[in-house]
Subunit: 335 residues, 2 copies
C-alpha cells in the first residue's frame, strides 16, 4: 500500500465551523481510503462533534490551538495574529512536510497572505492565481485569476494558462485542456495590449499540456468549447460574481413564478423530480472552493458559506490534486 | 398640439430587416401619438411590407437609398462606404435637425464611428459611452460603459455616472438614480487607482441628479439597491455578456430538466402560465438595445437579433429620451 495522503484541515474558518468541516471529513472518508486528516483547531469544540461522527480514530490527528482567524480580520491583522492560529499552523504543516495539501473554509485574504509568507513560489512563476471551477455545457471550466492580482502582464497570463491547464488535467484527466483568454471580441485586434501580447505568445508556443483556442467572450464561457479561461483578477472576479448574481436572480424569480398561484404550487410538486435534477446540476456545492495556484504546495479554499457536502467536495479536489501531482505537472511545463 | 417628435429609423440593419423594423414601428405607433418616423432604406424592400401594415401614411417618410452597411463590415469599411448608406443618412438627419433621435439595429461599431464623425460631443464630455438596461429585483439598472472605451480614467467614469443617471431619470422618472462603481469588493481600499480616485470624486461632489452609493460587486448588480452601474468598457462588456451567457445556460438546463420525462412534460404544461410569467419578466426584448451617451443627439442601438417587439421597445426608449430631454439633463449636470 502506498503512503497515505495527508491533508491539513483548518477546522475553524467559515460559517458553522468546525461542525461542517468535520461532517465534510466524514462524508469524504466514505468515498476514499488511505487519507490522513490533520485537523487544526480547538479540541474543545472539535472533540464533542467528532466523537459522534463515523470517522475511524486512526485516520485523523487533532492539533490543538485556541487562536484562530476571524472572517472579518484584514489580511494584515490575520498575519499579525501569528503562528498559533489554526490557519497558520495548518499551512506550516505543509512547509514541514507533515501534510501534502491544506484546506480552509476561512478568510480568503488571510489564507492568501499566510500561504505566501510560509510557502515558496514555484520557480519562474511570478504571481499566484486564485482559480475556481465553473460549469459549462459539456463539463467543467477552470477559470483564473479570480481576484488575487488586480493587474496582470502577459507573462502572468501565460503562467495562468499553464497552471489552469495543469489543474484541469489533474481534475478531469480524460479531457484535453483547451485554453482561451477572456476578451470583448473574438477578432485578433480586440482587447488591450496585454491581452493581444498574450495571444501572440500562446499562439506561437505550442505545448503538449493544452490547446490554445484564442479569445472567448463572456457569453461563451459556458458553451463548453473551451475549458480553461484565463483573465486578470479584476475581470475574473467581476465575471464570476456576475454569473453568481445572475443565477441567484433567475432562481429566485423562478421560485416566485412557480409558487405564485395554487396551480403553480401543485404542478411544481409534480415537477419536483425534474427540478431537483436541474438544481443538482447547478448546485454550487459541486463547484465549491478555489485553488491557489503558483505556490509549491496545494492550497485549497472552500467557500465560507458552503455546508458539509460542499466541504467534502473540496476535500475531493485536494485528494485529486495530490494524487495527480498537480505541482509536478506545472513545474514540468513552465514556458 | 406640440410639434411632433421625429425619429430617424435606419431600416436596413440587423437580422430580418426591414421587416422587423417596420413591424416594430406599427407596434410602437399603437402605444403613442404625434411621432413622425423618418425611415431610411431601400424603398423596393420597404414599400411592399409597409403597405400591408397598419401605419397611417401621414406619420412616416421613406428616404430612399440602395446602399447600406452590412453586419460584417468593419467600422472603417462602413465609414468608407460613405454618405449614401441608410445608416449615415439617418444620422445626418439629426445633424440637419430633421430628426430628434436615431435608431438602428445594424452594425454597432459602424453606428458608433459614423455617429462620432457626424455629431458633436456634449461640451466637457471626453468619451461617449455605450449604456444598456439590465433588470434588478426592484426595477431596472442602467449599466455603462459596455464596450465603447476599453480604458477609462476617473474623469470618464465620473461623466458616465452623470450620463447614466440622466438616462435613468429620463426612462424611470419616479425613481431616484443611485450610482455605484463596479468593483471587486465593497471596502474603500479595493480596486485599482482609477476606481479609487473616482470614488473620492463622487463622494466629495454631491449633486441633485443622483445619490452615490459607493462600490457594488458583480453578484450585487441585480439586488436593486443601486440602479446606475458605472464601469470601464472592458469590464462592462465582460459582465453583461457573462450575465447573458449564464441566463442562457440556466434556461437551456431548465428546459432540458422540464422536458426530460413524460411527467415532466405534463407538469410543464400545467405550469405553462407561471413559466410564461417568469419568461416575460426575463424577456431580453424588454431590455433591448443600447444607448450611446455623450453625443449631443440621442443615438439608440437596437439588438441586431431582436424581433419587432424588441424593436418597438427601443422606439419607446427613443421617445422617452426625447420627451424627457435627456441631452439637456446631461448638459445641466456636468461636473
Amino acid at each position: 500500500m502506498n503512503n497515505p495522503i495527508k491533508i491539513a484541515v483548518d477546522a475553524m474558518g467559515g460559517e458553522d465551523s468546525p461542525n461542517k468541516v468535520l461532517k465534510g471529513i466524514e462524508i469524504h472518508n466514505t468515498t476514499t481510503q488511505n487519507i490522513i486528516y490533520n485537523i487544526f483547531g480547538n479540541k474543545n469544540s472539535i472533540n464533542p462533534i467528532i466523537q459522534k461522527l463515523n470517522i475511524p480514530k486512526n485516520i485523523f490527528n487533532i492539533i490543538h490551538t485556541e487562536n484562530y482567524i476571524k472572517d472579518e480580520d484584514s489580511p494584515l491583522t490575520a498575519a499579525k495574529k501569528g503562528k498559533d492560529t489554526s490557519m497558520w499552523m495548518s499551512i506550516e504543516s505543509l512547509k514541514n512536510n507533515n501534510s501534502d495539501a491544506i484546506i480552509s473554509a476561512g478568510n480568503t485574504g488571510a489564507l492568501f497572505v499566510i500561504a505566501k509568507l510560509n510557502l515558496k513560489m514555484i520557480d519562474k512563476i511570478e504571481k499566484p492565481a486564485l482559480s475556481a471551477l465553473w460549469p459549462n455545457k459539456n463539463g467543467m471550466n477552470v477559470v483564473l485569476d479570480l481576484g488575487a492580482n488586480i493587474e496582470c502582464n502577459e507573462k502572468n497570463l501565460v503562467d495562468f494558462s499553464l497552471m489552469g491547464s495543469a489543474l484541469h488535467k489533474s481534475l478531469f484527466d480524460e479531457e484535453d485542456a483547451k485554453v482561451a483568454i477572456l476578451n470583448i471580441g473574438s477578432e485578433e485586434t480586440k482587447g488591450n495590449n496585454v491581452i493581444k501580447n498574450t495571444y501572440q505568445i500562446l499562439n506561437e508556443n505550442k505545448n503538449s499540456l493544452f490547446q490554445f483556442k484564442g479569445y472567448v467572450e463572456g457569453n461563451q464561457i459556458m458553451d463548453g468549447n473551451v475549458n480553461v479561461i484565463v483573465t486578470d483578477g479584476f475581470t475574473g472576479n467581476i465575471a464570476l460574481k456576475t454569473a453568481e448574481g445572475t443565477a441567484n436572480f433567475i432562481s429566485s424569480e423562478l421560485k416566485y413564478a412557480l409558487n405564485s398561484t395554487w396551480i403553480g404550487k401543485i404542478s411544481a410538486l409534480l415537477n419536483i423530480k425534474n427540478l431537483k435534477k436541474f438544481k443538482k446540476k447547478l448546485d454550487p456545492r459541486l463547484y465549491n472552493g478555489a485553488i491557489l495556484l503558483g505556490l509549491d504546495k496545494p492550497v485549497i479554499k472552500s467557500h465560507g458559506s458552503t455546508d458539509e457536502v460542499g466541504f467534502a467536495n473540496s476535500l475531493q479536489v485536494c485528494e485529486k490534486i495530490i494524487k495527480s501531482n498537480l505541482i509536478g505537472k506545472i513545474k514540468k511545463n513552465i514556458i
